[in-house]
Structure formats: structure tokens, C-alpha cells
């Protein structure tokens, strides 16, 4: 079957800048096949079915290299070595987009991509209309070798390099996102006391529209006045409190205007009132700029618990919103 392939079917059309380097070119050879729910079709059949030429375009940086498919779907591309990316296949005037795949082509080598099978529900209806096509890559370079060697027109060694899906990795939060996560927080307890604290909230996963995970570090501070108010409340006498400092870290999930966190930390100090290890949780409604929340902090070793209403503001966010 492979021996019947027409040599004239392969056309090479580099688009964009010409390769001016003296480096030996890299050659990429592969085969594209088509399948729908009832049949497997050769390129020749698909061209008749869709009334248009089938063209593979692979991009290397800014340059695009195009090649017609022959009757059996074989194509060959010659260009400078580097990483080539396949995003779509031309179907006459239409374009069928595929999950992006990349392959590395080395200088002076023939790179066999194997068979790229494009599957749609109905070839006559869907191909070129982007109705949920699937791309499957099959490493059958051993079987394709005679044809690959003929198309590459060289006795050079053939390297098998099946295209791999391009995975987009989240690069992490930007400097502005991190800076805007710095919050000044006013916390009010259920006994009328208030205190000022600070926290830093950083996104730790990408928000793809359904929220993202966040991590937080919090500076805990209970002022002497706040502690005195808490300890004295309802006793009729003034019990002097001392200022306490501590820290906490936490993680949670943020979606739309809601943010839920679990925290753990430690508050230094001894005597009456809150101190020692802390576990807590919070629920906040707001934007990156400001918000309102509820916090519960429990100090098991001191058998104390605080319920707090918090108002927070991002100073960097405010400055950024004004500039």
C-alpha cells in the first residue's frame, strides 16, 4: 500500500522568513489519517469529501511551514532545526484546530512523527467546522520507514519523535498580584474590642474561571487594651492584659467574591487569655481590594476562643486602583 504513494503529492511551502543560516536543515515527515464513527479515510478520500486540499502547517517561532498531504496523508517539511508546533490542519478554505502538539527537529536528521489520526463524528459534516475533533498520535515509524526515507530523499538517520501535547504551565502569581495580596486587617471581637493585624494572601493555583487555591501568612497581634477589654468584660473589675504577638499560616479556596480559609499558628505569651497554639477558620466576601469576613480562632491550650468580624484593605491594591 505504501509503495503506491505518489511522489508528486508532497509540496513544501515555507512561509515567512527564509532560512538563511548555514546549518543543515531538519526534515520532518509524518502521516495524517482521518476517522469518523463509521469509517477510516485516506487523505485522498477526505479531499473529495470536503472539496478542498488538505494542508498541514507547522510553526517554528514566527515562521510557518506548510505541506500538502499526499493521497495517503504523508507530508514532509524541511526547515531549520528547532521546535515545530502543529495547531491546525487546513481543509480547503476551512481550518480544523487540534490540540497543539510540538516536536523537536534536529539538524541533518529526518524526524518521523508517526501517524496523526484526526477523528470527528462525521467527516463529511464536521471536518473543518471544529466540532469536537480529537487528535491521536501513534508511533508507527517502524512501519512507515520506507515511505519516510523516500520522502526525505536522504539516507540520513531517521529519528522517531512523536509530537507531544503542549502543556501550558501556570507561571505563578505576578509581582503585582503578590503585592496586592498584602492586607491590613481590622478585627472586631464580640466584646467590643478591636485590633489591627496584617496578612499576605498569595494565589497558589491558576484561576481558570472556577476559582483557585490560595495560601496566607498572618501576623497575629493582640494589643494590651484589647486583652484588658476581653478579660475585664462582664467581671466588673479591670484585669490588666498584656500585648501578645504571633503568627499563622493557612490555605483555602477563593471563588468569585468568596474566600474560605483554614489557619493554624501560635500566639506567644502566658497568663490568662488567648495564647499558645491556634487553629482557626475564616470566611470572607470581597475583592482583592477590600472585604468583610468572619474569623474563628481557637486556642486549645488556653481553652479560649475568639469570634471576629474583620474588615480588610489592600494598601497596594488601593494605590494601584488610583494610579
Amino acid at each position: 500500500m505504501l509503495g503506491a504513494v505518489s511522489a508528486a503529492a508532497v509540496a513544501l511551502a515555507p512561509v515567512g522568513r527564509a532560512h538563511a543560516g548555514a546549518e543543515e536543515p531538519a526534515v520532518i515527515v509524518g502521516r495524517v489519517t482521518f476517522r469518523d464513527s463509521v469509517r477510516q479515510a485516506r487523505a485522498e478520500d477526505v479531499e473529495r469529501l470536503r472539496w478542498g486540499r488538505l494542508i498541514v502547517e507547522m510553526r517554528r517561532g514566527w515562521d510557518v511551514y506548510a505541506a500538502n498531504l499526499d493521497a495517503n496523508g504523508f507530508f514532509s517539511i524541511s526547515g531549520p532545526p528547532g521546535t515545530y508546533r502543529l495547531d491546525y490542519v487546513r481543509v480547503g478554505q476551512l481550518t480544523e484546530f487540534l490540540a497543539p502538539h510540538e516536536v523537536k527537529a534536529r539538524a541533518g536528521r529526518v524526524t518521523c512523527l508517526g501517524t496523526l489520526e484526526i477523528a470527528v463524528a462525521d467527516l463529511g459534516r464536521d471536518l473543518g467546522n471544529n466540532n469536537d475533533s480529537q487528535l491521536q498520535v501513534r508511533d508507527d515509524c517502524a512501519a512507515l520507514e520506507p515511505e519516510v526515507r523516500r520522502l526525505a530523499n536522504a539516507d540520513a538517520g531517521i529519528a522517531t519523535s512523536v509530537p507531544a501535547p503542549v502543556e501550558r504551565h501556570w507561571k505563578g502569581p505576578t509581582a503585582v498580584e503578590i503585592a496586592a495580596g498584602l492586607r491590613a486587617e481590622l478585627a472586631l471581637d464580640n466584646k467590643g474590642g478591636s485590633m489591627v493585624r496584617g496578612s499576605l494572601l498569595v494565589p497558589i493555583s491558576q484561576d481558570t474561571g472556577s476559582g483557585n487555591f490560595v495560601a496566607a501568612a498572618q501576623l497575629l497581634h493582640l494589643s494590651a487594651a484589647f486583652e484588658t477589654n476581653r478579660l475585664s468584660n462582664g467581671t466588673g473589675t479591670t484585669i490588666p492584659g498584656t500585648a501578645k504577638w504571633g503568627g499563622a499560616v493557612g490555605a483555602g479556596y477563593s471563588i468569585w467574591l468568596l474566600e474560605a480559609m483554614l489557619r493554624g499558628g501560635f500566639l506567644a505569651g502566658d497568663g490568662p487569655g488567648e495564647h499558645g497554639p491556634m487553629v482557626g477558620g475564616s470566611l470572607r466576601v470581597g475583592t482583592f481590594l477590600f472585604g468583610v469576613g468572619l474569623q474563628i480562632e481557637r486556642y486549645p491550650s488556653a481553652s479560649q476562643q475568639m469570634q471576629l468580624i474583620t474588615l480588610d484593605l489592600s494598601p497596594i491594591g488601593l494605590l494601584g486602583s488610583l494610579l
Binding site: 472586631l188 478591636s194 494610579l323
Partner: protein, 215 residues
């Protein structure tokens, strides 16, 4: 006034200032920003494309564009979004991606449709969301690296229905020297100036209805 009460009022006042700023009522950078021209960022990586478009809302006091969101359709069932805006943090220190209804967005190869945009006239932000039919009319297919000029999208007041207003939507792709000058200035001295203009599919789609803007 107790210490606690004072401690509440100060953050509340700051929060009110923040709300006003976030709501687009004013920004300290407004006088400087008004003089900045639309200008594309350098491509984030080789092989990207730039979509250039214009949105005109034919309604008194509609205001200038604040945000544009394009939906990326596919490949397969995948859906994503690409957006740009003029209300970002520290905007005065970065290049301006939209002005006077014109906008530029960097994209990778794929199929894009206008999903929504927002405007703020007289300090009142409004979000305009495209219905499916209107979205398809804005479709742009990005293949080779290039500048894709999707033309002018004109939104005009249409019929009034029960509890809703509909808007007619028209896409104008005829060449416009004024827009071409805006694009030329936007990409001047950037890598985009060496990227070819992509041929666009001729013919504007038929006018379609658009959903009423959210208050």
C-alpha cells in the same frame, strides 16, 4: 467617640475611597492616562497574533470601553478566555491596550468570539454580553502569526421588549483610514510592526440581536 469607633471609621472611609476608585469614578492617573495613546505590548512569545478591533455603542452616554473578553472556542470542547482592559492596577505605568473604542489583544492560534465587553459612561459601569448568534458573527479564526483586524462592531439600540431591551449588532469590515492609522500607531516600534496583516474573511455577518446590558 471611642477608640474602637474611630478605628472603624478610618477603614470605612478608606474603603469608600477604594470603592469609588474601583468603581471607575475617578483615578489619580486620569489626566496622564487620557494623553496616552493605544499601544500594543511586545509579543509574549514568538508566533503570537494580535487582534485589533473597534466597538462603537450608539447610545448617548454609553462611555468608553473598559474591558473586552474574547472566548476561545476549541480545540475540541475546550473553552478559554482572553481579555484586555483599561482598569488594571497601576495602569499608568503600562501600555494602554484600549482607547476610544479601539482595542488590541494578543492571542495564540484558535477560534475567538466576542463574549462580552463593558463600558462606563457617567461613572455607571455596564456589561454587554453577546447572545450566541451575535457571538458567531464576531468569530475570528487565527492561524498564522499576523495582525487580525476584525473591523468595527457597532451596537445600536433596538427593540424594547417586556422587561428587556435588545440591541442590534453590526460588524463593519470595510477599510477605514482612521482605524488603520490607530493600528499603525499602536504597533509602531514593536515586533508587531514586522508581522503581516492577516487576510480576513470578506463580508460582514447579518445583524443580530444582543442581550441587554446588565445594570
Amino acid at each position: 467617640m471611642t477608640g474602637a469607633a474611630r478605628a472603624i471609621w478610618l477603614p470605612l472611609a478608606v474603603a469608600a475611597l477604594a470603592s469609588a476608585a474601583a468603581g471607575g469614578c475617578f483615578r489619580l492617573s486620569d489626566p496622564v492616562y487620557a494623553t496616552q495613546d493605544i499601544r500594543a505590548h511586545e509579543p509574549s512569545e514568538a508566533g503570537r497574533s494580535l487582534i485589533f478591533g473597534t466597538i462603537v455603542v450608539d447610545e448617548f452616554g454609553a462611555g468608553d470601553l473598559d474591558t473586552i473578553t474574547l472566548a476561545k472556542v476549541g480545540p475540541g470542547t475546550e473553552r478559554g478566555h482572553r481579555s484586555t482592559n483599561r482598569i488594571n492596577l497601576f495602569r499608568v505605568f503600562s501600555r494602554r491596550a484600549m482607547k476610544d473604542g479601539h482595542f488590541v489583544i494578543e492571542v495564540e492560534p484558535g477560534i475567538y468570539e466576542l463574549e462580552s465587553f463593558s463600558t462606563s459612561g457617567w461613572g455607571q459601569p455596564r456589561t454587554w454580553t453577546s447572545k450566541d448568534e451575535a457571538r458567531r458573527g464576531t468569530r475570528v479564526i487565527v492561524t498564522r502569526p499576523g495582525i487580525y483586524d476584525i473591523g468595527t462592531l457597532r451596537v445600536a439600540f433596538g427593540a424594547v421588549g417586556f422587561l428587556e431591551r435588545s440591541y442590534n449588532f453590526e460588524r463593519i469590515t470595510a477599510p477605514n483610514p482612521e482605524r488603520q492609522a490607530v493600528l499603525a500607531r499602536a504597533i509602531a516600534d514593536t515586533r508587531w510592526a514586522r508581522v503581516p496583516m492577516a487576510p480576513m474573511t470578506p463580508g460582514a455577518p447579518a445583524p443580530t440581536a444582543q442581550a441587554p446590558p446588565a445594570p
